[in-house]
Structures are given as structure tokens and as C-alpha cells.
Symmetry: D2
Subunit: 140 residues, 4 copies
């Protein structure tokens, strides 16, 4: 499945006294990357919630290669790696946009939860094509 | 009304590349200060929300005197400055606990909102004594 | 002095369980607004730091009018309100870009500090025209 | 090697509109856990930085089991899993303190970097016993 690139600029709030971006600041960036991946396919994450479903994070993994610096223009690349009606894995590459250097890579695993009960559910029908681009028979 | 002191320790995440605590990191500290002020009086903010009411922030003001540093033990002093059944003003002093130095001072103004509609409401009866310690007749 | 508008989109990380944007999340937005105000005039805040000077926050004030919501496109308007070679006051308006509704307004007061010593200094010569657009004789 | 437990209380700022703690908020908690692990052994992370060394994060992994809720008292358990003079892996368990429920587990991998150059270095002599509790000959 295809990669989508989103740009953002490093905020001062995202740095720490090491003089680089705090490692935890990358998680909101990955969130921006996956929301914009959906938007690029014509879907809005807030509509998923309006349909009574949240995409909860079950696991996050980030490997840091080079530090991001204040005011850097960052490219967050995201794509769906695996999916079935209950689970989605999205992978990411975070790059310094100007140079193309890889700063970090990682993945997030998600499960669809009923927004009211926070219990697992299947992806709502209207979002099936967004997440489940290749549905194997067994996946159903 | 009396001051309550709460202690917290500066996290690395709360610093920025200036080598001190990011100015925005103080707002969660003030939040901790007012929640613990309530707790010290026997009230739990989450019970207010369980009663269908949120204490929304209408205004925040912070003056920064000296920088807080990583790993400092911080004393957040909070007290109710003014209140009526619709509005509460809380004031704060943020100190370096070891030395007593004043790092910042400020206030937050709050309004009670219905949690479902986010429209103004009066403080729930069960919390009246927490917030409205001196109720003038006109305030009612 | 003129207003500059910067756009940003509300991140999920910036919301809280009230279902709206956490009041503290606005401070990084104001930071983005003033950095982009400088950029719009041809100045880069990181160059100020490279010149050995940081623009420390001495005071922040925000009044909240309406809640910002997840995924809203936000317009952060910023302009220099007052300045002299030691101090700058910047004012802000935060709007829902689509509707133009005013969500919050406020100001930040700043002092120029020597980056190494964190002691007050005058604005570096190269940045004088950025901050000190109208310098009164007495201000010098 | 032994586990150390640190307590912290969930802040409102750490929740999101899902009504639970934002997944990214756990990273500062892990940071608190490892800093307090060191402190429990008689070491202060800030002294490591004073010695010209930073403990950079090379990888982070978190698996989320149950949601943490606003105002929960959280127990962050941390222990050194593996270490050599250049690398340290720390593992974590995040629990709801009152019930003992496991909320999340994970690990962080770290490398020692020269604070000035951000290039890899060996752990400073004074911290060897903190991190390298079992040093194999080959590890040297």
C-alpha cells in the first residue's frame, strides 16, 4: 500500500534540554501522519468517532536514528502495513524534509473500539475501504 | 482562604532547549495544584465531572520570575481567591521547594459548565462548600 | 503593527477528556504564531539563538472564549504590540479558520536573555528591525 | 536486577477526548520511572549530564493493555534489563496502583552520548555501577 507524506515544523515546545526534539514528541507526529494518510484517501478520522468508533493504540514502536532539531521541516511518511476488520498496523518514517535524512522509523498497532464502551468492535462499514484495502478471506 | 502546597518533580519532558522548563509546562502544574487543593478539602475533581459538571478554564495568567530546572522539586501553592456559584478564581505561587525561591505566580479563572452541553451552570450542590467558602448574598 | 496569520490543525494529543482542546495546548500555538510572525518578516528565531540570545517568556495571558475542537483548522494571528531593546509584548487571536470565530485571545511578554548566562541583554543588532519596529528615543 | 516502583497521579493534561490517557503520555511516565530507578540506587540523572553525558533514547516500545484514567494513582515499575558500557535497555510495567492491574508494558533502549557533540561515548566511570550491574568481560 502506498505511503503518504505530511509536513510539519518542529515546535520549541517539542525540544528538551538535550537541545534536540524530546523522544516523546514523535508520537503526536505519528498521529498526524496517520490522520493525514486517511485524509489523503478521502476519510476523516473524526467521522470514525462520529460513527461511534475509536482507533485505540495497542502498541507503539519507534527507533530513533538522528535527532530532529528545532524549526526543522519534518516529513512524516505513513502507510497501512497490515489490516483486518479488527486490527490495523501502520508504519512510519520520519525524515528531515530538506535533506531526506531518516530521523526515526516505527509502527503503531491499533484496534477498533466502541467509543461508548471501549470494547473491541469491527471497523464501521463506511471506513472498511479506508483501512481494509486488501481483505483476505480469512481476515473476515 | 488558605493556601495548599503540592509537590512535584520536574520531568525531562517539561524542559526545552533553553535548558530550563518550557513556559507552557507550568499550566499542567497549576492544574495539579488546584486539584490537590480540592483534595486537601476532601473533594475530588473527578466527582465533579461524575456529577455532570466540568470546571472550564476561562482565563490563565502566569508571570515567570526565575527558571525552574530539570529535577527540581517544585512546590505549587494554590488557593481560592474569589468565587460565586458560577465562577471561581484560583491563584498560585510556584516555588523551588528546596530554596523557597518564587519561580512563577499567576491565576486561573474558571466557569462551571454542564459536561454534556458545555453551557454555563451553577456549581453542583455537593461542591458548593468546596468552591464557595464565603458566599455573599448577592453572589447567589 | 501588522497581524500575521498562521494555520495549524488541532492534534488529538491536544484534546482532553472534556472533549475539547486542553487549555494548556494553546501556549505552543502562540509560540508557533510568534515564530511565524518573525518568519513572515524575514527573520528566523533559531538565528536569534545562534546569535547567543533567547527570547524568554516573562508573562503569558490567555482568555478562552469558545472551545477549539479536534481536527479544527486554526488560525493563529500574532502581532507585536509593544517593544523596546529589552522587552517585547506580542498579542494574539486564535480563531477557527473555517468560521472566523474567535476562540481565544491573549498576549505574551518577553525579555531578551543571554543564552549562556540567562541574564538580560539588549536585542542583538541583527534582530533590532524585527522586534523594534518603532523605537522611541526613551526606549533606548 | 531488581524492579523499582514510582508513583504518580494522572493529570487532566494527560487525557484525550477518548476519555482516557493519551498513549503518548506514557513516555514521560517511563522517563520518571527510569530516573527514579536510578535515584533509588543513589544516582541522579542530572549528575550524569553534569558529567558531560546524556542518555539518549534509541528505541521505545509500549504495549497498551488497559486504559489509564484521569486521577488514577499509577505505579511505574522499572528495571535494567541489559547493559554494557555503551547501551542500556530498561523495561517497564505501568500499573493501576489501587488494583494492581497491568495497564502497559514496554522497554526503552538507550545509548550514552557526549553531551556536547551528541556522539556515542562509554558510560562515565562514576555511573558505571549504576547502569552496568553485571559486566561481562566481553561487554567491556
Amino acid at each position: 500500500m502506498r505511503w503518504n507524506e505530511t509536513h510539519l515544523r518542529v515546535r520549541y515546545a517539542e525540544t528538551d534540554q538535550m537541545g534536540v526534539v524530546y523522544h516523546g514528541s514523535y508520537l503526536p507526529w505519528l498521529e498526524v501522519g496517520r490522520v493525514e494518510l486517511l485524509r489523503s484517501m478521502g476519510y476523516h478520522y473524526k467521522d470514525l468517532e462520529a460513527a461511534g468508533c475509536v482507533l485505540a493504540v495497542a502498541e507503539v514502536n519507534v527507533r530513533y536514528a538522528l535527532p530532529a532539531l528545532y524549526d526543522d521541516l519534518i516529513g512524516v511518511w505513513a502507510r497501512i502495513k497490515e489490516s483486518n476488520p479488527r486490527l490495523v498496523t501502520i508504519e512510519y518514517q520520519v525524515k528531515r524534509a530538506e535533506t531526506g535524512e531518516l530521523l526515526a522509523s516505527g509502527y503503531t498497532k491499533h484496534i477498533f473500539l466502541n467509543k461508548a464502551t471501549l470494547r473491541p468492535m469491527r471497523v464501521p462499514e463506511a471506513f472498511k475501504d479506508a483501512f481494509i484495502q486488501v481483505i483476505s478471506e480469512s481476515g473476515l
